[in-house]
């Protein structure tokens, strides 16, 4: 019986682990597709759109001290409603009509990892 429990637990753990990594891969894909054009694939705020004409510095997600000041709700709000929703630049556009709630949650977790 105990062997059955251990085996089942291990199988469940493996399945959950696989689901977790799939979710992480999805968040990277979503980030690279939508966010990296301004925030950079490495999250450092150096995307291809950031030319000398770009009127603001896109958030550098690798700056731990700065990111610690941003609440999860603020980050999700900015993704959905754009920069002006927290008095930041309109160059951060609203993605609420494009991304699902699950994609926004995934992005939040992915963005947080850049500073760790």
């Amino acid at each position: 019986m105990s062997r059955f429990v251990i085996t089942t637990t291990m199988a469940l753990g493996l399945a959950l682990g696989a689901a977790g990594s799939a979710q992480a891969a999805d968040a990277k894909q979503v980030f690279d597709f939508y966010c990296a054009q301004c925030h950079g694939v490495n999250g450092d705020g150096k995307g291809v759109n950031v030319t000398k004409d770009f009127a603001t510095d896109p958030r550098n997600f690798t700056n731990g001290a700065d990111m610690a000041k941003r609440s999860d709700e603020d980050i999700k709000g900015v993704i959905k409603d754009g920069g002006p929703s927290i008095s930041k630049s309109p160059l951060m556009p609203p993605w609420g009509a494009t991304l699902t709630a699950a994609e926004v949650d995934g992005l939040l977790a992915y963005i947080r990892k850049f500073a760790k």
Partner: protein
Amino acid sequence: MRFLAVTVSLGAALLVMAAAPSYAAGGDAIFKKSCTGCHYTDGPAKEKTIADQLAKKGPELWYAGSKFKKDWLVAWLQNPKPIRPMKYNSLTDSNKGDHPKQSAGDAAATADFLMGLTSPEVKAGVITPKSSPQAKAIFGKKMPCGGCHEYGKKGDVRGGKSGPSLVGASKRLNPDWVNAYLANIKVFKPVRDMPDFSSALGQKELESVAAYIATFE
């Protein structure tokens, strides 16, 4: 009886001809031979996931006749200068400007074929090119299009590089398509790296932006 059969056959043939898209003979064959490796023309949009979009080598053209201006298309197919600063679907590689060139005859036939591919989403005669303070404020500040799109005149081009350039948009794009695209972007591109602005801006605001872009030299 024979007369009836001939009449019916002729009628059927005429119906088929009337239903077929109106493009010059040969344009579809040229396209199938040379262009389908990178572009698809059988709409509606097929992309459902990011992976679907990233698998494409070039833009979809199933609504090309609604999107482009024919004179521009004929000239561009013969001298295809980059529209996008970056390679399609890439944020790291520049556009090398290596789109194949066509002869004048092939370009005219291909353009005829592409101009027959239209979308009922695009209503004709809605947008008249016009610059306005409202549109300038939206384009420049409220929802800054220049964050991702180049704009301006030759010698003073500015803006981001991830999207297609808007320099010369007045010659390239049908303003009614720009309006329809802004109002209902998901119909044309269900998966794209441009936000859906239709819920952030009103219809009149979107129309003013389309009219403003239609003035870009």
